[in-house]
């Protein structure tokens, strides 16, 4: 690109060099030389060189009976049409002729290419050929023309509708040829998606019948199209839903995983509300194909695993017997391994827990740090999920802590903190955790450890000493850790108040930390919390209120496995197999926002990119048009900044489009940020004073991952608002 730009600033003489040679070749009197020149032009195009200046010369070679040559010329036209919108009209004649060629391959090629030439003027010339090819005797031409309607609609919806092409497509759902049916459905689905007001794709009982007929006959990709349409179709008629399920189930046996997943989607969505024993039967039938998806290509596996994750959140019991399938192979790509872990913890139960724990321990001793940490976390998650397994999990975690591998120990500490919150009686392992205090450097782990020390201060002999060392380095810690130190010291103080041997030490600590946090710290969260503690502690001498607030019982946690909110989950289940189901985000979160029916920002940028290329090459192109121009003239034009006639349109367009482009980078991330905010855990550092307060009261800021904490967060926020 940059090279092109520089070149266009200093146009070289078109009399020598590659372009000149190619132009000579294209205008040669010998057909083999012309063909070779076309080939070379396409080769240059492939290499990313800009050969749009040859447009007029290429177009002369369009009318040929050599199919290969024609294909190359057409390819060139598609790529560079935007650079010479005016000259495209010259090509129209050949297109129209070709669309009536006796060879169906050429008819299809003409109509396919015509639709890809995104120049407004072409619309008028396309109507007739499109109408004819839609009724062509060859199914190959018809299936190409069907897709072309979608292209036409994309270019000019109004004219497309006026010409009745949508009705023609709707009729073509009844075509005798399965591929024509599939492409017509595809085109209608796309039109319907880009403008729902068109009601382009309406599934009626008769179309449903046709779709189900074609399903068994069309190609794998056609099946995906039809299945997707069936999945999007909503009906309250239970009989109809049963019928759809019955007809779609055989597709579970298709070799193509996208057909299988699309079929699973249809059955999953339509079986809701049909007879319970049928639901059971279909659910049972769904499991083996889902399992087989896990042995497809790794990338496809990844999509399948993300989808299985969603299905399990809706129906936790569909794969409980299949846990072994999700065991990681040592050569699985990391992204597959992590997803398998997510699935494993979801289908963990009392029967398979022993096996699973052995596996998880094995993973925790691997080398890939992300994977190891996730495996350790998984051990904690199953400990909380399955009561009877807690003890075994703690044993495994202790073994892991004994390995002294730094990141394993740290992750284990974070996990143990959650276990403490659910199960009492494991305080015995605290000394073991504290042995590793010096190596713990990750904020999460440090915070977890300090929380444990504060929470069990009365049971840890040297709690004062441990916290003392943290208080010394208070100012160097991250916010998360500072908050924990603060809370832990206050807890220690309250718990040792009656113990004469320790009370003076803890009082000393308390004073240091409160002073540090209020006068030497400029973080509002920390200052606020410190002040609140201070006030609480100075209200009454025996600190009854402070006790009630700070040492209050915490609500027990029931699960640390994150589930999507119900609404989002339902939305995503209807999007199985799509990108949304992979990202676990609603489409709106990653798609550019489209207001009204105008072109999207990306589309504008795409068009602008082509126009820009056109403008850059306008000079060269102008030179091409006037074969004998001289260099001085060209230089003049360049200094004036005015483009030759053929590109003037492009220049204006560029200016028009400037403003929307500037906005583009802002628009897209905006929505993502919002999403991120929602995802922030309650204990995150992003909150204002309210967030800090909430943490202080609940003493819960560590996990923050369970919904309980979040709800509580909301509640306390409201309370605080009420105060004002």
């Amino acid at each position: 690109m940059a090279a092109n730009r520089i070149r266009s600033m200093f146009p070289t003489a078109p009399r020598k060099g590659e372009t000149f040679e190619l132009r000579n070749g294209l205008n040669s009197q010998y057909s083999h030389e012309r063909k070779e020149a076309i080939r070379s032009t396409i080769a240059s195009m492939t290499l990313g060189k800009d050969v749009s200046a040859l447009f007029p010369d290429i177009i002369k070679n369009m009318a040929t009976s050599d199919l290969d040559q024609k294909k190359l010329v057409y390819l060139y036209l598609m790529n560079y049409a935007k650079t010479h919108p005016d000259l495209c009209i010259l090509a129209v004649n050949t297109f129209v002729q070709d669309s009536e060629d006796p060879n169906p391959l050429i008819r299809a090629l003409a109509i396919r290419t015509m639709g890809c030439i995104r120049v407004d003027k072409i619309v008028d010339y396309m109507e007739e050929p499109l109408r004819k090819t839609l009724r062509d005797e060859s199914p190959y031409v018809r299936k190409t023309a069907a897709i072309c309607v979608a292209k036409f609609f994309d270019l000019n919806p109004k004219v497309c509708i006026e010409n009745g092409f949508l009705e023609t497509l709707q009729e073509m759902i009844g075509d005798s040829n399965p591929m024509v049916v599939a492409n017509s459905v595809q085109a209608l689905a796309e039109i319907n998606e880009s403008d729902p007001d068109t009601n382009a794709l309406q599934v009626t009982p008769s179309t449903l019948k046709k779709l189900l007929m074609a399903l068994n006959e069309c190609t794998e990709w056609g099946r995906v199209t039809i299945l997707t349409t069936l999945a999007d179709y909503r009906t309250d008629d239970v009989k109809e839903r049963e019928h759809i399920c019955e007809r779609v189930v055989p597709q579970f046996q298709h070799v193509n995983p996208s057909v299988v997943l699309a079929a699973v989607k249809v059955v999953f969505l339509h079986m809701q509300g049909i007879a319970p024993d049928m639901v059971k039967q279909y659910t049972r039938k769904m499991a083996p194909p889902l399992v087989t998806l896990v042995s497809s290509q790794p990338e496809v596996q990844y999509v399948a695993l993300r989808n299985i994750n969603l299905l399990l959140q809706a129906q936790p019991d569909i794969l409980t017997k299949e846990i072994r399938v999700f065991f990681c192979k040592y050569n699985d790509p990391p992204y597959v391994k992590l997803e398998k872990l997510e699935i494993m913890i979801r289908i963990a139960n009392e029967k398979n827990i022993d096996q699973l724990l052995m596996e998880l321990k094995e993973y925790a001793l691997e080398v890939d740090m992300d994977f190891v940490k996730r495996a350790v976390k998984a051990i904690g998650q199953v400990a909380i999920k399955i009561d009877s397994a807690a003890e075994r999990c703690v044993t495994v975690l202790l073994d892991l802590i004994n390995t002294k591998v730094n990141y394993v120990v740290q992750e284990a500490i974070v996990v143990v903190k959650d276990i403490f919150r659910k199960y009492p009686g494991y305080e015995g392992i605290i000394p073991k955790l504290c042995q590793n205090i010096d190596e713990v450097d990750e904020p999460n782990a440090r915070a977890a450890l300090i929380w444990i020390v504060g929470e069990y201060a009365e049971k840890i002999n040297d709690a004062g000493e441990i916290l003392g060392s943290f208080v010394e380095g208070f100012q160097d810690e991250t916010t998360q850790v500072q908050l924990q130190i603060l809370t832990a010291v206050v807890k220690l103080f309250l718990k040792t108040a009656q113990n004469p041997a320790k009370s003076s030490e803890s009082q000393q600590l308390l004073q240091t930390v409160l002073k540090n946090a209020t006068s030497e710290n400029d973080n509002p969260d920390i200052r606020d919390r410190a002040y609140i503690y201070w006030r609480l502690l100075s209200v009454n001498p025996d600190n009854a209120i402070a006790r009630n607030v700070i040492l209050a019982d915490k609500p027990p946690i029931t699960s640390t496995i994150q589930n999507l909110p119900q609404g989002l989950l339902e939305q995503l289940l209807a999007e199985l197999s799509t990108l949304a189901s992979v990202y676990h985000k609603p489409p709106a979160a990653f798609m550019e926002a489209r207001r009204g029916k105008g072109l999207g920002v990306l589309m504008k940028r795409a068009i602008e990119e082509q126009r820009e290329n056109a403008a850059e090459n306008s000079i060269a192109a102008g030179a091409g048009g006037a074969q004998k121009s001289n260099i001085e003239n060209l230089l003049d034009i360049d200094f004036d900044g005015a483009a030759p006639a053929s590109a003037a349109g492009g220049g204006v367009g560029l200016a028009d489009l400037m403003s929307p482009t500037v906005q583009s980078p802002v628009a897209a991330p905006g929505s993502t940020n919002l999403d991120d905010l929602f995802g922030l855990s309650a204990g995150g550092t992003g909150g204002g004073g309210g967030g800090g307060l909430e943490n202080g009261f609940a003493g819960l800021d560590l996990g923050g991952s369970n919904s309980g904490a979040r709800q509580q967060g909301k509640k306390s926020n409201q309370d605080i608002l009420g105060l004002f």
Partner: protein, 430 residues
């Protein structure tokens, strides 16, 4: 639906691209290597699809290439990723090997194929055999213009009409690959049979085939009692030529086959079977200067069968030296480049048991971080005339209504190891 497809080298430079929809600036591809790098820095697990500024990138890696699709809609990710794999498959059949060089050398035909395989971002025809009928490497002569084969759009989109053979033959290969994972205590964690029925069809006309297997579900539904064993396949996948609704109804496998080689079906069995070749390993580490491996391999199948080309690959520490081996069969070699010793046994008779001892020296200077990547022992073998599951072809009926020729079906069985791993135990210190 994909907006554009790119072939990139490993640095992210575009080798060839096809813009199908013109709704995304093609310069978006320049961001791809940068995004990939950023993601790699953040985590070791970079997923095969991600989104950036409203553009979704879906890619696969093949040899020294990235094949990338971009889209701005909430497209079907499974379909796109599979289509990318399909591109690789078709191009590999066209050019033998798909890599940087073959892209450069064949750009004309690649554009033609991309045009035929996808239209406006929607996958179209991806059957290599049919594509080869009208998209060929030799340029078309002026007189005879290629025409789209009827098969492209037909219900039978995988077979052309008018195929003729002098001798009508069908070869059926039943191949069972075994996936096995044994942990270091000798417990089988996972054992799975992935079976495939591959066919080579050299039949004239449009033959109707019907394949009968000893399928338990079919025996049960038809109420017939089978002589001998029937097997229960957990999941079956069929080539698109098989009539799926027919199978769903009465478990009949009926189809019009493609011409030549193809995979008719694959199936999966999760049943616990005795591992065919059992490997036990003990490791002794002598004060960190020498390491000793003791291996026992046992063939746990019937005496009349033989496993061929058995390879037992044992990972050893990097930089091990001065290897010494002792075994009562086959050959053992040290492969430093793989950090493994490979024990090869040409023929391993059923019921036999063999031993191997290996001793390697360890370098005195060790790396600070000990290698903890746990590679398992891998085992490779093939056992002809034998299937682990006991699957059997009961019949293969071939009927060509018009030509009515006699035909010969040939059936072969073979079992082999696929992901067959035994985890290494911790070395005992002496």
């Amino acid at each position: 639906m994909a907006s554009a497809i790119f072939f990139l080298d490993l640095k992210g430079k575009t080798l060839l691209a096809r813009n199908y929809r013109g709704d995304i600036p093609m310069s978006a591809v320049e961001k791809f290597p940068i995004l990939l790098l950023e993601a790699e820095e953040e985590s070791s697990a970079v997923p095969p699809c991600f989104s950036h500024e409203g553009i979704n990138y879906l890619y696969i890696k093949h040899n020294n290439l990235y094949v990338l699709a971009i889209t701005k809609r909430n497209s079907n990710a499974t379909e796109i990723l599979l289509f990318l794999h399909k591109i690789v498959e078709v191009f590999t059949e066209y050019f033998k090997e798909l890599e940087e060089e073959s892209i450069r050398d064949n750009f004309v035909i690649i554009y033609e194929l991309l045009d035929e395989m996808m239209d406006f971002g929607y996958p179209q025809t991806t059957e290599t055999k049919i594509l080869q009928e009208y998209i060929t490497q030799e340029s078309h002569k002026l007189e005879i213009q290629a025409r789209p084969p009827i098969a492209v759009t037909n219900a039978v989109s995988w077979r052309s009409e008018g195929i003729r053979y002098r001798k009508n033959e069908v070869f059926l290969d039943v191949i069972e690959s075994l996936n096995l994972l044994v942990n270091s205590n000798g417990n089988v964690l996972r054992s799975e049979i992935l079976g495939a029925v591959k066919m080579k069809c050299y039949l004239s006309g449009m033959p109707e085939l019907r394949l009968g297997l000893n399928d338990k579900v079919m025996f049960e539904s038809t109420g017939r009692t089978s002589r001998g064993k029937a097997i229960e396949m957990e999941d079956v996948k069929f080539h698109q030529c098989v009539r799926l609704s027919r199978f769903e109804n009465d478990r009949t496998i009926s189809f019009i086959p493609p011409d030549g080689e193809f995979e008719l079906m694959s199936y999966r069995l999760n049943t616990q079977v005795k591992p065919l070749i059992w490997v036990e390993c003990m490791i002794e580490s002598h004060s960190g200067s020498r390491i000793e491996y003791m291996l026992k391999a046992k063939a746990q199948f019937k005496r009349r069968s033989t496993a061929n080309n058995v390879e037992i690959i044992v990972p050893v520490p990097e930089d091990a030296d001065s290897p010494r081996f002792r075994t009562n069969i086959g050959s053992v070699h040290y492969h430093p480049e793989k950090a493994a010793i490979i024990w090869k046994i040409k023929q391993f008779g059923g019921g036999k048991e063999f031993l191997m001892r290996a001793e390697l020296g360890l370098p005195s200077v060790k790396e600070a971080e000990p290698e903890r990547k746990k590679r398992p022992i891998s085992v490779k073998f093939e056992i002809p005339y034998f299937t682990t599951s006991g699957i059997q072809v009961r019949y293969l009926k071939i009927i060509e209504p018009k030509l009515q020729y006699p035909s010969l079906p040939w059936v072969r069985y073979i079992s082999c190891a696929a992901d067959y791993h035994v985890r290494l135990p911790e070395p005992t210190q002496t």
